[in-house]
């Protein structure tokens, strides 16, 4: 009898504690939601302003602050898509970004496999050396790259930029892929070898599908870092391979700032990232952590 009372008592106190916990929890949820909302609003405000400006006429932009376009115009976008000097910037950017991504991934795949499966002479030093290139400031390389690519006749071609971006993208791809490959059990390699698969056959037919998500993530990060980098891209091009991001600076020097056009071009450079981000949203932290989460 006394025992049951004791149990009852403890039960009620537990219940009460539980209710208190739940109230605290609800409060915390609200606190969380507030922090998150404030942060997201802070992130979106500048982007909203850019989109807002890109849909206005220059008259409206300079004549006073309006929170939404009073005279909605798509003229700025139409100009970019019809003027060759503008849209060729996009084509140039995409060209070198795609070349770079393909180069980086195809070179990095075998290397990452070697790092994840074998020990060999100088492997740790080599791995470290690759990392230092990811961390090297592009400003240091701007001038020597300019000389180097001028000397071998690649200056002002997409290849120059693509190769230059390999400097930081190949190490990044190796690191990310190595992270994903280390998650695949070695037994698979051994079983395949016993089953009589040759190495290239095994690698392409069996191993690559297993790390498909890793390849996707690495490709995304190569794409992204090549897309956002401008210092090298601008130094290595003048006319024929000029990236869109460099074309944008033209409106600054032109007589009378063309704000609407600048904003529209800016919005269009955000679009590719926004489109592909959905596919890698769950892996994005792993990519930024160089495959080490």
């Amino acid at each position: 009898m006394t025992e049951s009372i004791v149990i009852d008592r403890s039960n009620t106190s537990e219940l009460r504690a539980d209710a208190a916990n739940r109230a605290a929890y609800r409060q915390r949820i609200n606190g969380k939601a507030v922090v998150m909302t404030v942060y997201l609003v802070f992130l979106m405000l500048p982007i909203y302003w850019l989109v807002n400006m890109s849909l206005k006429t220059n008259m409206e932009i300079t004549s006073g602050l309006t929170l939404w376009p009073r005279q909605l115009t798509f003229g700025n976008y139409i100009k970019i898509f019809t003027d060759q000097s503008w849209y060729s910037g996009y084509i140039n950017s995409l060209t070198y970004v795609i070349i770079n991504t393909l180069l980086s991934i195809s070179f990095a795949l075998p290397a990452a496999y070697a790092f994840s499966r074998y020990r060999f002479l100088g492997d740790k030093h080599l791995f470290f050396w690759l990392l230092t290139n990811r961390m090297a400031p592009p400003a240091v390389f701007a001038l020597p790259f300019f000389n180097l690519y001028s000397a071998i006749g690649l200056f002002d071609t997409p290849w120059a930029v693509a190769l230059a971006h390999c400097l930081f993208n190949i190490p990044l791809a190796v690191w990310i892929l190595e992270g994903f490959m280390s998650g695949v059990p070695r037994e698979i390699d051994e079983t395949a070898a016993i089953d009589g698969y040759s190495f290239p056959h095994f690698f392409i037919k069996i191993f690559m599908p297993l790390i498909a998500s890793g390849i996707g993530v690495a490709a995304f990060f190569c794409f992204m870092f090549s897309w956002v980098e401008l210092l090298l891209a601008r130094t290595l091009t003048t006319v024929n391979a000029k990236p869109i991001a460099a074309t944008m600076t033209r409106t600054v020097s032109a007589a009378g700032m063309d704000w609407g056009l600048l904003a529209a071009a800016g919005v269009l450079t955000i679009v590719p990232g926004a489109l592909v981000i959905w596919f890698v949203r769950n892996y994005i932290a792993k990519g930024f952590a160089l495959g080490r989460v």
Partner: protein, 298 residues
Amino acid sequence: MTKTLNHKAWFLVLPVFAVVAFSAVLPLMTVVNYSVQDTFGNNQFFWNGVAWFQDLLDPSTELGGRFFGALWRTLLFSAIILTIEIPLGILVALSMPREGWRVAFCLVLMALPLLIPWNVVGTIWQVFARSDIGLLGWVVNHMGIDYNYTGHSLDAWITIIVMDVWHWTSLVALLCYAGLKSIPDAYYQAARIDGASRWAVFRTIQLPKMRRVLLIAVLLRFMDSFMIYTEPFVLTGGGPGNATTFLSIDLVKLALGQFDLGKAAAMSLVYNLIILVICWIFYTVMTNVDADRERREA
């Protein structure tokens, strides 16, 4: 996982080695070559020994003063960035919703600034902070605060810092969130049974589990803020005066603006050496943490 010893693996690494050597070692040799020479134009070079390095490391010379000025500015910038972004990133990661469509929604919106070309980031803030046509500048000025990032150096600094917080805090938050997600639910249940406070849960469960990703976040943010170039270049161009001339900006001015190849090359090498040392610390700490974890899991 034990790895087998196989020196033939070098053949798999060789292509990467060749490409990276071509685009890293070759240019670096050019830089070394320039750093010990002087030029009067016309592609005529003279042996100059280590004079540039002596100048560079002596704050009383013109070049040295300039270098150390930029170095301190860059270090101060990195320090401010870390003290703001790391705690803020942790706070945002802790505020992530638990599940459902809201997680994906938050993740995508948070990652958006990370995917914007760096000069566009500069342009966005250049416009956003202007007092005549930018929302931020207009609002601040109408609140009665005299704010002008092209005229006052303090305003320029604040603008660049806010811009960087806007641009990169999400990286810290995403990494921390990945660390938090790896905590099993059982830990929280145990903490609830023990009646642990919110702070105790954070101190004893969440923070230790985030240690590794936080380390990566700190080092990545340090590296990237230490070599920041494009965003402040677009926003302020290093001005007003020299107020926001960071190392990278100064280096590019020296190399591509004035074509002072010898000085620029010497500066590049010292700059690169600093990065290399930090990188080495990063690598050592990270591999130690890796080994530590493996030992504990084994």
